[in-house]
């Protein structure tokens, strides 16, 4: 545990929770605390989802030289509630031939597992809902279970096109599981722990007083972070990997037979997945709730977590605004032929890094050079093989 100054703001959430449940007897207190944790996560991330949709539209608008929604409420901030009302009042149509139970369960499954992933993310110094020893494994198990719901949706619709689209979406999700998992194995190697609180604690402190020990500031950490973020983009079906969603323009996507609130739930689950994966990236690579400079520690830990989370989510939206989308075979090729080999090489780089921790003096420079080279060189070589035959061209004139 860190010995940071315990300001009032820092401890406020825990104090409030203890005050609310203090009068209960001890066994019930644990139950009530957990309930409060669950409700507050749902409330915070539900509201965050609502305002993320608005933020996305406004950021996309500003990038495109226009304001985004600005008519509903002051400067548009009531737009998500208007959209929510719209979604709720739509008719819920279930096809006659569909498997009603699976059709109903698919959104339930995807939402349940997405929310379950929030249980192990440390939002602040004392704000982790569930402190498991194998928290990271639990997180990725829960987030992979959401892929089941994609297939349930496609299968239960009893629609040839939806099934094909669901299989395509599933292929994308499964392909990107591997780089996602491989990219955090170096983190476990480095910190020796699978528990999220442990990993955050291992990134505590500052080198030379101002460079934090966050894992992203090492060569292998930066590479791991990049691979993790690209895989997170693909796992949450965001641009440039949103062909399963866009395919619904061409062939019915796996969500065609869903309308109204059920569709909103799938949408919500996508955003929750985005938030959870970003939260995990913050935990694993960006030092969790820790401040970047000692002087800035007066800002409470959950505020730092929120700032870092918002920065990553902004990155997601920025990428969506800029990049066209990849075709399904191109994105699976990217996963298997580029990201997986890079992640495996990254493991080797991490191993080298930790074997050379004790090198002194000028050897440190060599250590850095070798590590950086081991990160960059395979990227260049693999990139060249991936993009062979493609490239800018020169044209002749008649």
């Amino acid at each position: 545990m860190s010995q940071a100054p315990t300001s009032f703001l820092e401890n406020a959430p825990v104090l409030v929770r203890d005050w609310a449940t203090g009068f209960l007897p001890a066994p019930a207190r644990w139950f009530a605390n957990s309930l409060i944790d669950i409700v507050s996560i749902l409330a915070v991330f539900g509201l965050l989802f609502a305002f993320l949709t608005l933020a996305e539209r406004k950021i996309l608008g500003r990038v495109q030289n226009r304001p985004g929604p600005n008519r509903v409420g002051w400067a548009g901030w009531m737009q998500p509630f208007a959209d929510g009302i719209k979604m709720l009042t739509k008719e819920d149509v279930v096809p006659i031939a569909a498997d009603r139970v699976l059709h109903f369960l698919a959104p339930v499954v995807i939402l349940a597992f997405s929310i379950l992933t929030f249980a192990v993310i440390p939002f602040g110094r004392n704000l982790v809902p569930l402190d498991l020893d194998a928290a990271v494994v639990y997180f990725f198990a829960a987030s992979s279970s959401t892929e089941l719901a994609v297939f349930m949706a496609g299968w239960s619709s009893h629609n040839k096109y939806s099934l094909f689209a669901a299989m395509r979406a599933l292929a994308q999700l499964v392909s990107y599981e591997l780089p996602l998992l491989l990219s955090f194995v170096p983190v476990v190697l480095a910190t020796g722990k699978l528990s999220t609180t442990g990993i955050v604690a291992a990134q505590a402190g500052w080198k030379w007083g101002f460079v934090p020990h966050w894992l992203v500031f090492t060569p292998w950490g930066a590479a791991g972070f990049a691979i993790f973020m690209v895989s997170a983009l693909a796992e949450s079906n965001r641009s440039p990997f949103d062909l399963p969603e866009a395919e619904s323009e061409l062939i019915a996507g796996h969500l065609t037979e869903y309308s109204g609130f059920k569709y909103a739930i799938f949408f919500m689950a996508e955003y929750f997945g985005m938030c959870a994966l970003s939260g995990m990236a913050v935990t694993l690579f960006l030092g969790g709730w820790q401040a970047p400079l000692p002087a800035l520690e007066f800002i409470p830990s959950y505020a730092w977590f929120a700032i870092k989370l918002m920065a990553l989510l902004f990155g997601f939206m920025w990428i969506r605004a800029t990049l066209p989308r990849l075709r399904i075979d191109q994105l699976t090729r990217l996963a298997w032929k580029f990201l997986v080999p890079l992640a495996l090489v990254n493991l080797g780089t991490t191993a080298f890094w930790f074997l050379s921790t004790d090198w002194s003096g000028p050897f440190q420079a060599i250590r850095w050079a070798v590590a950086v080279g081991l990160v960059i060189l395979p990227a260049i070589l693999l990139g060249r093989s991936l993009g062979s035959g493609l490239g800018p061209r020169t044209y002749r004139y008649a």
Partner: protein, 207 residues
């Protein structure tokens, strides 16, 4: 290296995102209806009929119901019925006038051919575009009451064109008056001249 093109693209969008807060060239939305863009003078939407005076719009229409615009209109959206009687126009000459002049703005394609072919500068293009109606048949059918607008309005919306038209009409009027005066003077001179000359050597001037 793979990805440099993508990073350059991200840079361009970042420039636009940040620039949209302070650079008007990177935030080009006009918040209609609170703000409106200024329409250029040449902008055209649907036609209107020009009256010389605002007090008596029906009586001082320049239109003489020659029906040229009705014939030339490509989608044939103009319907004209001539009047039975004649009324003096702005120059005092007795002209027929349109008893019915209807334009169906649901059909009109704003091509401006009626304006080009009108020999009397009686029909010009208006600039009003907020004319939504709840009934798509009678609400969009404009009769001559709705179409007649005064010349001062024409000066307001198309100043250059209105001045040129006024100049031309005034010059035509002056030329007509000159001709009439010259003809009257010649006639008076022929009457006052001695009648002794044989008519073959002194041909009468034509009136």
């Amino acid at each position: 290296m793979l990805g440099t093109g993508l990073l350059k693209g991200l840079g361009v969008t970042a420039k636009n995102l940040v620039g949209s807060f302070y650079d008007p060239k990177r935030f080009v939305t006009t918040q209609y209806p609170e703000e409106r863009t200024k329409l250029p003078e040449a902008y055209r939407n649907f036609p209107f009929l020009v009256s010389e005076s605002p007090e008596d719009p029906m009586g001082t229409l320049r239109c003489v119901a020659c029906q040229i615009c009705e014939k030339e209109c490509p989608p044939q959206c103009i319907y004209i019925e001539k009047s039975r009687d004649k009324k003096p126009d702005a120059n005092g000459k007795m002209q027929i006038y349109p008893a019915v002049f209807d334009i169906d703005t649901a059909v009109c394609m704003s091509c401006q051919i009626c304006v080009e072919v009108c020999p009397f500068d009686a029909i010009k293009m208006d600039q009003v575009f907020e004319i939504a109606a709840t009934d798509r048949f009678t609400g969009l059918l404009l009769d001559r009451q709705a179409l007649a607008k005064p010349n001062s309005y024409f000066h307001q919306i198309h100043p250059t064109e209105a001045e040129e038209v006024d100049g031309r009409l005034a010059a035509a009027r002056r030329a007509a008056e000159e001709k009439a005066r010259a003809a009257a003077a010649a006639k008076a001179a022929a009457k006052a001249a001695p009648p002794a000359q044989p008519p073959a050597e002194a041909p009468k001037p034509a009136p």
